[in-house]
Amino acid sequence: MITSFEDVICSFCGCLCDDLAVEVEDDKVTKVRHSCRLGANKLMGHERIKAPMVRAGEDLKEVSYQEAYDRAAEILLCAKHPLLYGWASTVCEAQKKGILLAEEVGGIIDSTATVCHGPSIMGIEEKGMAGATLGQIKNRADLVIFWGCNPAEAHPRHTLRYSSNVCGRFTADGRGCKNVVVVDVRETKSSKNANKFVLIKPGTDYEVITALRLLVASKDDMVPDEVGGVSKKDLAEVVQVMKASKFGVLFFGLGLTHSRGRSKNIDNALSLVAELNAHTKFVVMPMRGHYNVGGMGQVAAWETGFPMSIDFARGQAYFNPGETAACEVLGHKEVDATLVVAADPASNFPRSIVDNLANMPVIQVDPYQNPTTLLADVVIPSAIAGIEAEGTAYRMDGLALRMKKLVNSPFPSDEEVIGHIIESVRRLKGTVSCNDKEA
């Protein structure tokens, strides 16, 4: 029997499109309409982990869920400094349990922002952020700038639903009434949709943004003939377009967060946008990758005071990106066990860090196998959030939506899994015998 669902929320990227139509048969998603290819692939699903497993020697052997929870609890209790990592591709309800678990086992909790928009958050900590919801942009923006991001490939429906190719109340002519500027180190699919493409030399974003700030402040004589491979004439033209717009928006991505300058690039861009507000309306937004990495930042902030990279080892919250972020503590071998939920560090982290991960106990909670599974000592399959389990997610602009449950599943949700691990931790605390190899 086929069941149809309307207004389904996609669980792939930060666009959090909520207009999907999904057909389900025999507890499987059989058809997805309106979504992009990335979302459809996610919702259609693929082969998944069938049962909990614990590593015995070289192989993973199947165990019961309770055994897996207890083994995970033992690992976390024996660790002097466990890391609880990931969280970006699951719902807030699971993230909340994750934070509670980190508090109870005295470890660090961090999200995939560490390899993504962590620098953006650090920039916001310096400058604040002039933002808006995506609907505001849909209805008002007549200038859309994409800097260091490629929405055509990474956020395929962004331009149709929210930014450059959509009509709204004050933008009734859609693409026709908008100016699109793309800034990048190479031509991309997105730059082909642009009215103006600005090619910049890799690693020069900070200087180019500074030059733009000078031009916005009418300090033209300070700007040399060329900055970052961009002519002064081109830079001046961009600023002219910015000032002439009624409502401009700057979207930025990993091209800015991960090139030389990193969080300084972002904080410079945030200041550029703040200064543009003296001339016209301007907002800025990071193009969040995973569908609920934004949610993890929000949940962590209201529960702990900090949006990411929080260390509870001393019984209180300590935040210091540059010291407590997942990449850093794994790189410096500061943690001795890792719980990975809804993420794949083995694929996304640098090789040396993955080697460190391989040398410690790893617990993985995920519906699907991925390269991290190869490193895991405990593997716990969970229900797919947004399809088999409901819960809250936050879109890239901070808007919260409730993901639906479409199908029944024999798998426990991430929220339930972490909840059970917490129960095991509480029950086993003080009784576990650990193998302390070193001081």
């Binding site: 470890g107 500074t210 300058g261």
Partner: protein
Amino acid sequence: MRTITLRPLRAIGVPLEAEKISPDVFAPLSLSQIRSLEAFQGNRRTLIADHFKVEGDEAVALVEETTIRLEGDFSRVKRIGENMSAGTIEILGPVGMRAGSGMKGGLLRINGNADDWLGREMRGGKILVSKNAGNYVGSGYRGEKCGMRGGEIEIDGSAGAYLGEHMCGGTIHVSGNAGDFPGAVNQGGIIVIGGSTFLPGAEMTKGTITVRGKATVLPSYKKVEEIQIEGLAYQKYIGDLVENGKGELYVALG
């Protein structure tokens, strides 16, 4: 002069947080009490004696008369000398993160490399490093206006990125190179870099940065004049003009 020496008993895995290793803490305590001071290893509360052999003078002394010698590899011991106000810590070996954080006075001498966050939010006193230092030397806490407000840091080798960012006072001297963005958002203080660096003084409003090697300078720094200082020729700049800054940047010529 009271001297107390600590030597690691074995290699340290998960780093220690040893903010109790400070002349202010040690000075009034007996050796036995010092051995019983807590040091956290991750979430484990352990004792100084669990990790270090403690020897030295038994009699208590004034803080300013107390010297702590750390002999060996302290690269995985964090927060040494945190908030110290007087006395001396000498480290014969590398030292871990956040050494001398919040220091108010006294001397922290490191004969080795120093890890990130050396002298974070320093207020006074002196830090000497014979080799290299990491990122965020003499910096502030995330998003706060002022980091280092006083004191002196001298690094014989090179330093990492964000040297003295958010500085409001004090002096930092690096003989070698400094990584990206030294002196970012500074409102005061003096930074001298013997080697080369990238984009010094980003958003600086006041303070002085001198670079004896090469520097990539921001377009928002205005050339003022060429000037001789101690026999070396420099280009003097004023900036950062995105902040209408009046900071002074000197970059060696030729």
